[in-house]
Symmetry: C2
Subunit: 330 residues, 2 copies
């Protein structure tokens, strides 16, 4: 299961098997969307699959997640989604009302983002050969004017910006399964981050060095990948990282680190220091960006690692997610 969790085992699978055999043109930095050129026009291209359990949860559902996930992967690669395609793998016997609800959720998410669905495919497998439905989406987008996302441009002194509270999605899913005797007033953060990314690009475009949406594996995994890709260290201030009490409480009870919990409506950005205030203001003035914070900065040391300064004056190294504490979170 850990090979699908987005952490260390996933990265080993990608770097050990998929990249050498399949991504022959890859430059080594594994980003959320590929940049290619078609007929002279730059195109960003991405894909993702969704196996979240349960299909519906407080704040969202698999269909809405599938649309926003692809819009977000394009957004943090510096592109505005232009068209999406979808495949459904349905389990025989799935109620048509469940399918219709997800199609409607996708339709609403597409409308909100102003993105077109241009094609799709459906397969049905026998009862017991899927779990209700699985969805894959792929999207193409065109570059947002004036920004370039490249981990290799990150420099010591750059600021790390986070769009809002961490862990809401992962903990919401965990609680929605009802396997734990825990309840909390919590919703998934699933949403399109494109409006925030566009606001950031408009106000602080030249200062944006890198972005990523911290989904599976959480903020810690995304920033460890950044540290590795730029060869520098990421220093975080724990007290600056927004976390809802319910998430903090559930993590303490379960022995999980909120920095490893999946998010579906947040993004991280590395911003040149002279643009940091502009960037933060831009996010905070965009709907849904009130809780954006500068949570740390880039340092020479510890190279290739993420260091968290705790609220009690200590510090700890936070690694990528290892294993899979929360399977099928998206």
């Amino acid at each position: 299961m850990s090979h699908g969790a987005g952490g260390k085992a996933s990265r080993r699978l990608v770097e050990g098997l998929f990249a050498p055999l399949l991504l022959s043109g890859s430059d080594g930095a594994l980003t959320d969307a590929a940049h290619i050129e078609i007929g002279g026009a730059p195109v960003h291209f991405t894909t993702d699959s969704f196996v979240v359990k349960p299909l519906r949860f407080p704040g969202g559902s698999i269909g809405e997640l599938a649309v926003n996930g692809t819009i977000n992967d394009l957004a943090v690669s510096g592109a505005r989604a232009r068209a999406i395609v979808v495949t459904f793998i349905l389990e025989e016997g799935l109620s048509s009302s469940v399918l219709e609800a997800e199609v409607r959720a996708m339709s609403a998410a597409l409308s909100r983002a102003g993105v077109a669905m241009v094609g799709g495919d459906t397969k049905v497998v026998e009862r017991g050969k899927a779990d209700g439905m699985y969805i894959s989406t792929a999207g193409i987008g065109s570059p947002i004017f004036g920004i370039t996302i490249d981990a290799r441009t990150v420099r010591p002194g750059d600021r790390v910006l986070l769009s809002g509270p961490v862990g809401d999605h992962g903990i919401t899913i965990l609680l929605a399964r009802g396997e734990l005797d825990l309840e909390a007033d919590l919703c998934s953060d699933t949403r399109s981050v494109l409006p925030m990314v566009e606001a950031l690009a408009a106000e602080a475009g030249p200062g944006i060095r890198w972005m990523r949406d911290p989904t599976r594996g959480g903020v810690a995994t995304a920033l460890n990948e950044l540290a590795r890709d730029c060869g520098l260290g990421v220093e975080l201030l724990e007290e600056e990282i927004p976390i809802h009490d319910a998430v903090r409480g559930a993590c303490e009870l379960l022995g999980l680190d909120p920095l490893h919990i999946a998010n579906e409506g947040q993004f991280l950005a590395v911003i040149a220091p002279e643009y940091a205030d502009l960037a933060l203001n831009a996010l905070q003035q965009t709907e849904g960006g009130d809780d954006a914070r500068i949570i740390g900065q880039i340092r020479e040391e510890p190279a290739n690692a993420v260091l968290v300064n705790t609220r009690y004056g200590g510090s700890r190294i936070v690694d990528m997610l290892v294993g899979d504490p929360l399977p099928r979170i998206c």
Copy 2:
């Protein structure tokens, strides 16, 4: 199961639920790939999912099918694949050698076609929540110069061209499952049809009106969709349709119509009469196109239907596939 079979129930699902809610910009003709414009450049965009059982079969495997399926959907829409993305949904416990074999099969198919894989995603679900592995691919392509595919341009008198024998893929899969007490010396026809489409475009480009790869639902379903989309009739000459003896025999035994059996390496084209000979020669001189035939022509009547003139002088109307005689064929 029939909703995933590519025939009538699939079309009802697409037209009744997916198209009205999701494909808001659709013009009604459901094609294998969408045509959009990005930064002024025309881009074709398609997706498909693969749940074939077994994963490997004589002549191919799921990974190779996933790559060629997307290349072929683009090819019959009049485009050359430029980049592909992939998602894997893996069942916990899947052997790594099985996964590696499929990654290698994909890699080989990509190399043969000269197409780049530019990204992907992997999810793992618990044992019993998938059947080994499911794969979705999406692809973007750029138009092949000088051809336009549009069912609305089809005219009475146009010829129907078929690239090779029908039914090899579907019957191979059926036999590979070992549930029937039948054996035959038969391979799936899975392959890229792009070289044949490019040869056709080069020699008879202005004469090409429409193309389609007759996968799920077979030649009959593809041509019924054409008949409906152009409002004309398709008249086929049964004795001109190439069918291997093993396929004919298995179909007779099982009460199946070979025209409903899935193909993975064939395509249909409607060609203006003055280009028909050029087109046929172009295919027959391309590797793998020896068995190409003109199998019929477009008529005013029977409007919206497919008529087959049998080898014994009779004729019959062949409908789209109804139900799913062969689930999980691709």
